[in-house]
């Protein structure tokens, strides 16, 4: 117990002595881990969305506006006979209008000025296999009276490419910042050992064990890393709330995207572990030169 008290006291003294360096270390750990955790959170959100699409990948075939019932029926029959189509659903102009009203609920003027007859009829199609989506899209796109075919995959793919690049950019930024926070912690520990070199010399001389000499410095690194990570945890949590709010106002494609508390909790825990790890690794590197001499 007295040994714990000793370690706690020494760690606190050392942290206070290097206050500015300590703060710099904490801030860089916090920012880098927030970037890291933030991008993981966004990825998790997107994953939830794509996960849903995977269960029943859909493509939607839009007819030209004003196609006759007969023209629509041609496509209907063809879909019914298509062995690559598992199920499909015909959306009439009334159905389209219902969706339209929901999507543009916040623009009453637009809804007001739009009549069901202005909207295209469409077919929502679930293929036998997800891989067939593109094949089906290509086949139906050039059919008579078909205006366009939208596949979930196209939109998702575009989004995934975007998030992949964003993810890459954020993770490289986060790694650079993580590296610099590591250097800052190494430097703080070096300064701390230098400030206390006479004490360390005496400790080694009278036979203090290596661990006894090291622990206060390692605790110092750990505290820095953990506090920084704690801030990052808070920021990730705040980001989760912001994303959740943004998504709750969406009724379009993004409505399948979700962010959960367990995502934020898991990522936050990871962030804490990395932060503490960086602190300890930084202090070990910082101590090596001085103590093993």
């Amino acid at each position: 117990m007295s040994r714990l008290a000793y370690f706690a006291r020494e760690t606190l003294i050392s942290l206070r002595r290097n206050l500015l360096m300590t703060i710099a270390g904490i801030i860089t750990v916090a920012i880098s881990l927030f970037l890291f955790g933030g991008i993981l959170l966004v990825s998790a959100t997107v994953d939830h969305g794509t996960q849903q699409w995977k269960h029943g990948i859909e493509l939607e075939i839009f007819m030209n506006v004003g196609s006759t019932a007969k023209q629509v029926q041609v496509i209907d029959k063809e879909l019914a006979a298509d062995p690559q189509v598992k199920t499909y659903k015909h959306l009439t102009q009334a159905d389209a209008y219902a969706i339209f009203k929901k999507d543009f609920a916040d623009q009453p003027a637009l809804v007001e000025s739009t009549k069901p007859s202005d909207l295209p009829e469409s077919f929502r199609v679930e293929p036998q296999k997800a891989e067939l989506t593109e094949v089906l899209a290509l086949r139906y796109k050039d059919q008579q009276n078909v205006a366009t075919v939208i596949t979930a995959a196209q939109q998702i793919k575009r989004l995934l490419t975007a998030t992949r690049w964003i993810r890459l950019a954020f993770i490289s930024m986060a790694s650079v910042l993580l590296a610099s926070s590591l250097f800052l912690i190494v430097n703080t520990i070096r300064l701390a050992t230098f400030a206390r070199r006479r004490e360390i010399e005496v400790m080694k001389l009278v036979g203090a064990s290596n661990w006894f000499v090291r622990v206060p410095f390692m605790a110092e690194g750990l505290v820095q890393g953990a506090i920084g990570a704690g801030f990052a945890f808070g920021l990730v949590w705040a980001l989760k709330i912001i994303i959740a709010n943004l998504l709750s106002n969406q009724h379009t494609l993004l409505s399948t995207f979700r962010v959960t508390s367990s995502d934020a909790l898991g990522i936050g825990t990871l962030v804490l572990i990395i932060g503490a790890g960086i602190g300890v690794i930084g202090s070990i590197v910082g101590l090596r030169r001085f103590l093993d001499a």
Binding site: S2, R198, V202, M203, V206, G207, N210, F212
Partner: protein, 228 residues
């Protein structure tokens, strides 16, 4: 207690500090280590502390070859060897009491041991009244007494002293030597490297003389220099 067997220590760049040195120091002996600067005295002490490792031969302390000690066992060795230096190596931000207590605290001795041992040892070195003073408030002789108290508070088997009187005036030196003699009489082996001719001649203890890393003299009741 201490045995050197054909010990050679060479540093980088072909500097040979010790050359096939063989020597035995028994438990409870008081040995002066003399010789000019660069003769290998400091290397001798550093090898005993495992601050350096011999490049040839064996250094035995209490029957163990300390050159083959794992680095995690070095602290254990050092707990059995007290050490005193010319520059005292006291911590300026700690009081006399705290400086001595520090040596016990950092090897994990419980509080009640610290509370009984430190006043005892301060009494031995005659600094009870200065317990709450800081090192800068003490004379050189007093500071050296604190450092001896720190080296001896853990009751080591061996006390090494590297020029302990190098910074002190003759009168103060006598007091320090009396203290070391007293510690020696408790059964502690004392090895003292020194340039101080007068104290070696006055004490008439075993003298080991090194020159260019070789043993040139080992005399039971010796003086500083041959013919002086």
């Amino acid at each position: 207690m201490i045995r050197f067997e054909d010990v050679t220590k060479a540093y980088k760049g072909d500097v040979v500090a010790l050359r096939e040195l063989s020597l035995e120091i028994l438990k409870g002996e008081f040995v002066f280590l003399v010789g000019p600067s660069g003769s290998g005295k400091s290397t001798f002490l550093k090898l005993l502390l495992r601050d350096e490792v011999a490049t040839g031969g064996k250094v035995m302390v209490a029957g163990r070859d300390i050159g083959r000690l794992g680095s995690w066992k070095v602290p254990q060795l050092r707990r059995n060897i007290g050490c005193v230096f010319q520059d005292f190596k006291l911590l300026a931000n700690k009081t006399v009491y705290e400086n001595v207590a520090f040596a016990l605290e950092v090897i994990g001795r419980p509080k009640h041991i610290v509370r009984t041992q430190v006043p005892q040892i301060l009494d031995l070195v005659g600094l009870t009244k200065k317990a709450d003073n800081f090192p800068t408030e003490l004379s050189g002789g007093e500071q050296q007494r604190v450092s001896i108290a720190r080296a001896f508070v853990n009751r080591p088997l061996i006390l090494l002293a590297d020029e302990p009187t190098g910074n002190l005036d003759p009168a103060t030196t006598v007091g320090i030597m009396r203290l070391l003699d007293r510690i020696n009489r408790t059964g502690t082996t004392v090895v003292m490297a020194t340039h101080d001719q007068r104290i070696v001649d006055a004490m008439r203890r075993r003298v080991v003389e090194l020159d260019h890393g070789s043993l040139v003299r080992d005399q039971v009741r010796g003086v500083y220099g041959v013919g002086s």
